[in-house]
Symmetry: C3
Subunit: 349 residues, 3 copies
Amino acid sequence: MSTIPNPNAVASHALADLAERFGLELRGDGDHRVASVATLGEAGPGAVTFLANRAYRPQLAETRAGAVILREADAADCPVNVLVAGDPYLAYARIATLFDPRPVPSPGIDPAASVHEAAVIGQDVAVCAGAVVGSGAIIGDGAIIGPGCVVAPGVTLGAGSHLVANVTLCDGVRLGLRVLVHPGAVIGADGFGIARGPEGWEKVPQLGGVVVGDDCEIGANSCIDRGAIGDTVLEADVRIDNHVQIGHNCHVGAHTAMAAFTGISGSTRIGRNCLFAGRSGAYGHIEIADGVTVSAMTMVSKDITEPGSTWSGGIPARPLREWQRSLAQLSRLAKKRRGPHQTKGKNNE
Amino acid sequence: MSTIPNPNAVASHALADLAERFGLELRGDGDHRVASVATLGEAGPGAVTFLANRAYRPQLAETRAGAVILREADAADCPVNVLVAGDPYLAYARIATLFDPRPVPSPGIDPAASVHEAAVIGQDVAVCAGAVVGSGAIIGDGAIIGPGCVVAPGVTLGAGSHLVANVTLCDGVRLGLRVLVHPGAVIGADGFGIARGPEGWEKVPQLGGVVVGDDCEIGANSCIDRGAIGDTVLEADVRIDNHVQIGHNCHVGAHTAMAAFTGISGSTRIGRNCLFAGRSGAYGHIEIADGVTVSAMTMVSKDITEPGSTWSGGIPARPLREWQRSLAQLSRLAKKRRGPHQTKGKNNE
Amino acid sequence: MSTIPNPNAVASHALADLAERFGLELRGDGDHRVASVATLGEAGPGAVTFLANRAYRPQLAETRAGAVILREADAADCPVNVLVAGDPYLAYARIATLFDPRPVPSPGIDPAASVHEAAVIGQDVAVCAGAVVGSGAIIGDGAIIGPGCVVAPGVTLGAGSHLVANVTLCDGVRLGLRVLVHPGAVIGADGFGIARGPEGWEKVPQLGGVVVGDDCEIGANSCIDRGAIGDTVLEADVRIDNHVQIGHNCHVGAHTAMAAFTGISGSTRIGRNCLFAGRSGAYGHIEIADGVTVSAMTMVSKDITEPGSTWSGGIPARPLREWQRSLAQLSRLAKKRRGPHQTKGKNNE
């Protein structure tokens, strides 16, 4: 596994250059050079940092950073050089790409990779040791297939995509451009389709594929199942954290993001720009409007038709005794004799 | 990774042949041929489809399918050819196997596989590139060991079993016949056994194995831990979705099915024909009767002795404000002074 | 994948030797020999067993074991040889290590492994078939890199560490001594860092690494993300079960243990000796004191400052109808007109 240093990683940048390149307003010494990023509390004079989360505001007065990316409103209280940004976190994200020292596999097919002769490999593709690429797979220019990855026959990988390591793409998977897939993720495994027969379960063939749009990111050990009939679809720029499950024939709209342990059961249709917090999800062949937020530990079980609405159902931790009392009261309520105006139907939610 | 087309996949089937082969009643043109499956809404004249879920009933009148598999009661409203079935979903599952174009690895040991000379390999076994088979492993006839799979020393794999890709079977694992294991699944990893010692945790050796019965299916990235003493056991025809966790020394009865994120902690004994919905589970060294259903997001913490009962504990998502009010009331209830007839014991559920 | 038998595994041990070696008090025949471990109910005369959990006390009178490890208080009721221990489970854990027959890969680099010439490999290291070790990786003496594992460039693996199989260690990961990592675990994948830009999400570079202390154990298919800035840290002797998620820049104190599906979101700071039960977790950039216990299915969302406290929020399963009534009452409560002393603020917990 040969690697080359990230070509973006350079020694240092003058603050004036950063301001110009990223459209920020500089207040301070434009010739000051920074060579790394660090947190507000830990940054020294050679590092650039940022202030976005209110919780860290008290640290501003003590910072020794080379420069702080912050909002106009915070600038006056900053004791060091300032880069004013409308969205400091976004500006930080862009600047940080300049200081990324992480190694990237260099183009070429490692002798310890196994690439089928009938695979189609683009320009400047890297296939690392232990990777397996099947017959008829089509690998776009500049793609990286990391060590231990399996690309099944017929898979399509868009240009600039990157499978980090030990990723599995099953047959019938098509990734768009610049898709990033983290280790252990599995795309295109069978959906969970079983039918009761006279002797036990019978498997329902899972004949569809998975289409993943441009610029999607799929977290470590996440699974996106193939469709049963027709494809499971992620539109462009869907961002998936680790340990996420997306069932067969789901459709996830562009720019939707899902945090760890999100679970979406089969045939759910999710809008654009939705946010699913950790351990949230949806089940029941439902449809969710654009821009919906689902809180942590919350499972949606009915259609959500109101765009931009927020849904919740999780219980924050309480001291044990207090929670035991809540549970006991909940049980007691359930056993209360129903009053004359309370119909059975109301209880069957 | 050479592959051969699925031998079942043929050009097309006459409806009369399908009816005869699968014991269905045909109403319509027996000479009409279908060559694929599709959803009720999308099927054209060359495809067969089905109607099982009431939710899709309204689409029936508009279907352009070559034939619809449906119940007797729905037949009169179908504008196209009909295949009447007692269980349309099951009939569909069987017919769909005829139209499965998915590639299957061809028998043989890939030069890029690593098979120990002391492994015992049956007839017509496929071992794909990047797979590793250890000493003393016994691989049944017709088994498929997909790319990147690890089969530890001494593992037994029944005839017709299929490890799709990047599967890990640890030492002490024995799979029955026709077991299907999806990518990233781990069978036989150590159970979570630790004992507090004077200096910190001490590991409790996990000395048992895992026995998986015939016709089981294990989902992507699921884990079935080895026993601490004695084996973890899945009886025949257990169906496990993705991201499922089965702890050490569990015993799961035949035909039980578990949806994604189900978690069963160690030494749980589960009956036959149980259903665990998504994100459900059980903990506490308990026993669960046959035919029990556990709803989504529900954790069983006590023995369930009544066969066929349904248990629940999940909270469906609510609009944020409404849920915040429920939580506040729940807190308030917990703080209510306990009345004279309410003993402390009752609160310690 | 050549293996050697565990050098600890011997034919049998005399009870007197076990008593002396592990500091236990023997009551019975010191010459009696045992050659395996078994459960209280299943042990025969050739096996040693233990009694720690009260639930199994009724089986004691019927045991046919060669010896039972138990507490002083239980000794009088034991019909067979006794090894008295202050902590029978801990004593069992130690004795069981003598009867571990599990195969261990033998030192050496398998010809089917891929080890970069610029990796630094210690004495008696085993690198198994299908493993990939990158440039600049440093592998400590006696470490085992199991089949299919990926060790990225620059990773450090402490002496005696063991990656079982199909493990991924990304660049920037440093494991301490004797760290045990189970199959499918991913250490050092990118944290979930995205910032909203004008055209969609923009990735926040994840530039930190992961530091894992001595004697940690990481379960199958668990993920520990790299830091965004600075490292994610596990102190020594942290014990992690399967399917656990630890977000970027978390800090987990020594001896803390987490059961399956625990999820810790980014930048959480967790004390020493904490216990997280199954499907528990924490989110919200919070801090948790030493010795805190978090119950099953419980998510902590605020700082916990009281050491040794227990927190809860999970709902034990109820019969479906009973739970439906609880939910209905909960909804009804949320709709109750707020009384004069109830401010809006109180509802916004």
